[in-house]
Symmetry: none
Subunit: 402 residues, 2 copies
């Protein structure tokens, strides 16, 4: 796949044409056993159906058949980056999720507040899932210390989850986790996995020792577990690779963070679909690629709220004319993965993809749905090919060889 990026890079060209990638998070679903229809099939979507009629449809697999993607791999695939080769450390992912302004050499780790007994053995890796309020309070106790000249930030995420960020010169990530991933044992001593990492291991162990002391009287959250020490990866940007000038319109930090990692300009926007489409219109002249992220569908799916997911899809459909009236040369509507309300979580099911352009070679699909997309002209394909396909339809790719 890196090879494919090299191939795309070698044939990419700039042009005034514009591409809009509308990502309806967790779009794909599973049928309600009573109606036999998925969330997307239940929703009344005249505008999406009209676009599907004019466009070409298919089913995309973000990672591979049977693989349930997290948000990061799901989006990296949509941006054309093989999510298996382009990985993001756990600490960095959590930092992106809370909009922490990571600097280039910062080392971030995912933290859990946990419970240990008087022998120091872990009894609960999640400290009874303490409240987010409690998490915020405890993070304040740990935040802002310095060890050997290294500044340490501790920021709450949700419930027992937090991040630790180490900032200073000469840090590395090549150290082991302290999280033993099981109870009944002690947290693990962090060890250097290469000689130059010994100082970093020492700093992390000192932080943990200090945290243990600070938290001693805060049972059930009387200890911390750290894992996924990582720095921000340096991915080739979409500008370098595709010669695009890309912008991201997303209300949630994680997606803004992922967009930044591939070099998109993150635009200020609001939290509603209408806000996002207004931001698109206001910035339409200044970029040739727009990633727009709709979060509500995934949240509703995660909550198991079938009807709420249907409602959000209908809201997107209702707002769609604000997007199509701008007449982008290429419009892609898809999701980063499926989130069936029945499964209350992400799933491995392929995701409906709709591509419209003047040159798309339309198929007979006249409804944007999982079952109709099966017979679409795009067939079933890797979601990493959406960007090359969109660029081809925008006439932004030269011929490969003679």
């Amino acid at each position: 796949m890196e090879d494919n990026l090299e191939l795309i890079k070698s044939i990419a060209k700039t042009s005034p044409s514009k591409i809009v990638l509308l990502v309806i998070d967790g779009l794909g679903g599973l049928p309600d056993p009573e109606t036999g229809k998925t969330e997307l099939e239940t929703a009344n979507t005249p505008n999406l159906d009209k676009l599907a009629t004019k466009g070409v449809c298919g089913l995309g697999d973000p990672v591979g058949l049977g693989i349930t993607p997290g948000s990061a791999p799901g989006h990296l695939a949509l941006f054309g980056y093989n999510p298996v080769s382009f990985s993001i450390g756990r600490g960095v992912l959590e930092a992106l999720g809370i909009d922490f302004n990571l600097q280039s050499d910062d080392v971030a780790a995912r933290g859990n507040f946990c419970s240990v007994d008087e022998m120091g053995l872990v009894t609960d890796r999640r400290a009874g899932r303490i409240s987010t309020e409690k998490c915020i309070e405890l993070c304040q106790l740990l935040d802002g210390v310095a060890i050997e000249g290294i500044k340490i930030f501790v920021c709450p995420v949700r419930e027992h989850r937090f991040i630790v960020v180490f900032r200073g010169d000469g840090l590395t990530t090549n150290i082991s986790d302290s999280d033993p991933q099981q109870t009944g044992v002690a947290p693990m001593i962090i060890t250097a996995q290469s000689p130059e990492a010994s100082r970093m291991a020492g700093i992390a162990n000192q932080f943990i020792a200090q945290a243990k002391t600070t938290l001693a009287e805060h049972h059930p959250a009387n200890m911390v577990l750290l894992r996924g020490f990582s720095t921000q990866p340096h991915f080739p940007t979409m500008g370098e690779t595709y010669k695009l000038k890309p912008a991201a319109i997303a209300g949630y930090p994680m997606y803004r963070g992922l967009a930044k990692l591939v070099g998109m300009q993150v635009l200020e926007t609001g939290t509603t679909i209408e806000d996002e489409f207004t931001t698109l219109e206001q910035n339409y002249a200044n970029y040739d690629f727009f990633f727009i992220h709709i979060k509500g569908t995934d949240s509703a799916g995660e909550d198991g709220n079938f009807n709420q997911k249907v409602r959000i899809i209908e809201q997107v459909d209702k707002a769609l004319p604000d997007l199509t009236s701008l007449k982008p040369d290429v419009i892609v509507v898809t999701g980063d993965h499926s989130t069936p309300a029945l499964l209350k979580g992400h799933s491995w099911h392929p995701v409906p993809v709709l591509l419209y352009s003047k040159w798309c070679r339309s198929d007979k699909v006249s409804e944007f749905s999982e079952s109709a997309c099966i017979s679409g002209g795009l067939g079933r394909f890797s979601a990493t090919q959406i960007i090359p396909l969109a660029m081809a339809n925008a006439l932004k790719l030269n011929k490969f060889s003679a």
Copy 2:
């Protein structure tokens, strides 16, 4: 893909069964906005439709979704060779295109006649696209010189395009281009990219210096630009890899040249479809694989001549009984890429594929067309898999492992 070739090689076996691969160049198209039908859908093709009814259909991608293939990668894919790994240098490609009889160690480069001003800066990389007659005349002025014992051939291609072939001992290709790919700058001095290439760089620079002198009074074609220095690649032959005895029937040099590169025997033939099918009949007993190339569809597509492309497809259909009456065990009809008349050039759209054999497990497709092939039993797949599929249908592949 090289891995896949190794797999096929390990299970290939010889048998008396015969495979015919009929390549209708640039077969895939886009619908006429008035009728909603592509060239193939507009053409009256009772024989192809009958074969589609008995056979199994699908859509093939020569390189990947969104990638528009040149003729060389399009054909290499059809011959089962991954066109990204098996690349052919630009100089060699041009030489194949004019039937230049390249010898094994010849170094070929693509040349442009260009215009330079009195400062020596390039003002037009194509010398105002001089006529082919002028190109022939200028090539005669440059042809046949020798530098340091190296014989140099200069042969016209078309308009401003020509090839230079260097023949002699100790030549290498590891040198840079002189074509700066932009105007307003001087042609670049060719440099060695490894120590042993310095002699070759010197010879190329001397050739360019002599050409500059010779062309001084021939404005707008008063200089040359060279690029893509390359030797004929050594690909594994279809005989070695597939244990086939393959023959090529093609009226145009480029396709004969590509067939030679994968070890096909190139048969003498005429320029019409009927000529080619007669050649097939005359040589039918002597080979077990035939590649037949129909050029007219691609030329019509490149010219934007929708109706002419329709007519050529109808000619192929009319002549088809001459092929089917030979009763090949396997017949594949497809293209090397799409060339929609509406785009006046090659495109990225997948190509209809029809495979007929006694063992093909037929689908419900009863019409050979882009839209019908979407629902075909072959699905959408990489065109590099056509040869293994054809061999399997010819019972020329053993079981893989036990």
